[in-house]
Symmetry: C3
Subunit: 423 residues, 3 copies
């Protein structure tokens, strides 16, 4: 360890002699290689969210719906890839500066750095594709046990081709929120999570509650709690990767410190969310509730995503903990309103996402509460209204909901033929 003191001494001297961001640079090739690596590795890890959300839905849905839950996630991830490649990615960066919409940006994977940020366009495409997948899959769980597979896949394609990228372009593509408001959402609390959660809420309102959900006593028991817990841990790893990768650049000592700080804060926020949900459910119901703790862990990460860089560790833990509180009270609140969100997608992603975006000015002096309010209102409002329209069109065209007898039997039987006598 002594022998490393020599070169680290050089690095520290460089850091001391200038602000970290401007310290002795790596070669331009190395910068490109490092930043591309960051996007690719974080993007690939973010893909674990597809497995994670599938497991959460399969675990929290009634038995007899798990296979369809998994199929939905695989097919939806595929639909997002197609929609982003054809349309979404071009819209995201095609927005005119400071504007709301723009031209279709042309690109190919081999383009070097089409938007001037320092990496191959294919790496940026992969990372954005996986953020869009994250947002789109949030919708699935809320509608579990009753949504029609074909309607869900069509909604997913529309969401990934139009709804998500237009909103993301306002904040991340240089559009209105970036230009006029300096809206801060580094890791997607509002852009990804609140937008996905709003789409989930719109779908739950249009499609309606599961049959008998508010007639019998309480929620149906979870089919497979360990699957849900495993899924939540995957989603947690995926969100850590999304939070780290959203730094985009890994080219100077300051970037490395920033990414490490993001991850440490995110870990504390996740811990805060899980512990708050555990203590809340233990004190309210006199016993822990596994599904709520699982969502608290995820909700803590959603809450810190908007700005994982500015808070101190204790602030990050508090931000996450309040996310855990929102998850705990949000589910019963929706149930009181007779809005049936089967996996708690709206409390976890919408409520915590809004909270995460609004709390940014507490720790980040460059953010203004007004800008954050405007950004959240626009992103959530746009996603909600457009998604509700899309669901209504689907409802009155091909139908958004399965037949009553299929719902009671569980979708695995009607959609996949599982459990039937083979022909």
């Amino acid at each position: 360890m002594i022998k490393k003191a020599v070169w680290i001494g050089m690095a520290l001297a460089a850091v001391a002699s200038a602000s970290a961001q401007d310290a002795a640079p790596a070669s331009e090739s190395s910068m490109f290689l490092f930043s591309t690596l960051l996007l690719l590795a974080c993007g690939a890890t973010t893909f674990l969210a597809a497995a994670g959300f599938a497991m959460i839905e399969a675990g929290l849905a009634r038995a007899g719906n798990a296979a369809v839950a998994c199929l939905k996630h695989i097919a939806a991830a595929a639909a997002v890839a197609g929609a982003m490649a054809l349309c979404g990615y071009r819209l995201l960066y095609g927005v005119e500066p400071g504007g709301f919409l723009g031209a279709f940006e042309r690109w190919t994977p081999r383009d070097v750095d089409p938007v001037g940020l320092g990496w191959a366009s294919a790496a940026d495409f992969s990372f954005n594709l996986l953020l869009a997948t994250l947002a789109a899959l949030i919708v699935s769980g809320a509608l579990a046990e009753r949504v029609r597979l074909s309607a869900y896949l069509m909604f997913t394609a529309v969401f990934a081709a139009l709804i998500y990228p237009i909103g993301a372009g306002w904040a991340w593509g240089g559009g209105y929120l970036a230009g006029a408001w300096r809206f801060v959402d580094l890791g997607g609390s509002a852009v990804v999570h609140a937008a996905g959660g709003a789409a989930a809420l719109a779908g739950a309102l249009v499609i309606g509650a599961r049959r008998g959900r508010y007639k019998s006593r309480g929620a149906p028991p979870a089919g497979d709690a360990p699957a849900a817990a495993l899924g939540a841990l995957f989603v947690a790893v995926a969100l850590l990767a999304a939070i780290a990768g959203a730094e985009r650049s890994y080219a100077a000592i300051g970037d490395a410190i920033a990414i490490a700080t993001r991850l440490a804060n995110a870990q504390l926020a996740a811990a805060g969310g899980a512990i708050a949900a555990l203590l809340m459910t233990a004190s309210i119901y006199r016993r822990a509730d596994a599904a709520t703790v699982v969502n608290g862990l995820v909700g803590g990460l959603v809450s810190i995503a908007a700005d994982p860089l500015s808070p101190a560790l204790w602030q990050a833990a508090l931000i996450g903990a309040f996310g855990g509180v929102l998850v705990t009270v949000g589910g019963p609140l929706l149930d009181r309103l007779r809005i049936d969100d089967a996996t708690g997608a709206a409390p976890t992603h919408l409520f915590c996402g809004v909270w995460g975006a609004l709390v940014v000015p507490w720790t980040n002096a460059d953010a203004s509460l007004l800008a954050q309010l405007v950004g959240v209102a626009m992103l959530v409002g746009f996603a909600f209204v457009m998604s509700a329209l899309a669901w209504l069109v689907l409802k009155y065209s091909i139908g958004a909901r399965v037949a009553a007898e299929d719902e009671l039997a569980g979708l695995d039987s009607s959609a996949l033929g599982l459990g039937e006598e083979p022909d």
Copy 2:
């Protein structure tokens, strides 16, 4: 983001002033560190395939065979490690240039760069070990519910010590296919997947179908569809890593662009495979089939592995989609021939692997269809014949198949004693 414009400007100037491959290099140390990192990270991620294949088999096999399925995969991965360390890795790079076999190459993990490619030999060993593991584990699923554990492990050792590395040496170790034919298989469509699938097919033919498989009506129902879906998502992540890592070098801006392009194409191919399988099964059977979609996702990745670099995104999606079609029609075709491939290993890995290698000339002007045909024929033929011989030897020596009553009871009971009264 403005501040990054400076150095990216330098990088872009460098790219513009020369071909990307030769652009302003990182220091030689950085190149070594980057390339080693690529191999290690991708190798470690490829190991997820062991978990993935185990879950696919455990999920698609009848209940009562899942524990043995998992045990087989853990023990087989261990056997591959031993076989590759003792013999396989030396054969792979020991082949004489342009030849068929060669001397046993001596190496130790600390060797720097034994084959002149720019990384530590231990990193290359790890990566090759995990590709061999991938190939060997393909065999397991096809023989589910009836293969003898000890016979399968012995076959795996022989496959990893001799069959796989000799073929891989022809294409990747500088042997006959590389020297005389310039055979193109960047990511292992033929070298890894078709060889593993051919070995699986040979095993299924020698061992025969599950008892009653073609007497009762249709395939036995899957025990646990969510496990299979989770497994497929793990295999997908593992294959993305294998496709990225097969670039081998991560030392210049051109390498970074190439790897990012590989990943973007692979994502589209996976999407194409899953969607094609979904649409095919939905239109043929009037309902989706979860197992087929799961295999379609993997089949899309197998199809693009041979050349994930040359296609445009739409070409990658089409290549993957035709892989999804092969998966959908391949299973019923084998069933018509009374070849019982329990998890669809042959359609997914053999059929898609052959397709992937043969389609390379469509997008890659440096590849010739004749060379691809010769390469596929040699690799598949060698793996099939050698594997059939190995299975025949096992069948007529220790026996390759469990007793009838054990098969009917499920292997978990006979091989592991699960479900019995404890003594």
Copy 3:
């Protein structure tokens, strides 16, 4: 591939002209970026251990305890994060040089390199946090089906705030074992695994066996063997990452070779452990035992962790194989002593961890058996005595064990209300 020969030639010349450790360095920025990346990537991957241990416990425990098993792991990981941030991390590096305890070291995530090793303190915090999580979660499985959730979480907080970091500081923070004895434990065989295993053993002794465990015939059958196998594969990936990341520095060609060598050796040790456990159980019980093979895989990695760098591949395989033997004989030995370790945590982590630390002098000439004996005795003794004290305090205050009827019904029902009629 030819074109890469040029720069690798430069690198090899540099290696040849000096010892690898001192070879032509990357720029100081690149060194910092590489080393930070190593810690962050390995830390994030190590987090898979939380999912892995949860799955192992959920899989090996009786049905009706799986949901609590998962909840315990999520909540415990959160508790460790809080305890390490508040106290543990400061103690670890606050130890006075060569001493036993020290001042509370102050730090913030943005500190650059507080201990002079060449990375951002947040990256080092994340990595240490995940090693502490690894150690703390070992305890959970041993106490499955009977420990009180609140008592376990309180123990976890004490363990992560005080017990683990004080011991780790002796070996890794520059304390007594590092200063006076040059104790070698590169990857935590003793510091992490034996300490966690000793805490598990202390808990099992204080809390006592599951009711009826030694009255009925044998262990209760595993509820879900595939879940346990999946968990073991996750733990294996996590331990590979911990072993690689413990190199800490990734700044020169010598570091890359060392990390690649560590991984190759670890893969062989894992293989040795799994194969030894398979052969042992197959020859003793005339059938394989899935749980033992699963623990053998992990035990092989625990055994090699102390020094994954010095052994040759065959030595690594042997070291791991003897770990597999210890796992196989350790479980029945504890049962003979009526110590009820539900998931085999003590054989896998304590016995193999002690073995791994003591075998270091076989392959590493810089280690002395006496120093290793002193280090193991101090680390295991301290963790065992302090943990036993903590468990005794919990036992006689809030109670460490659930009520008899809750235990018989399974904890999912009493702690979480699963399976009951909803209110």
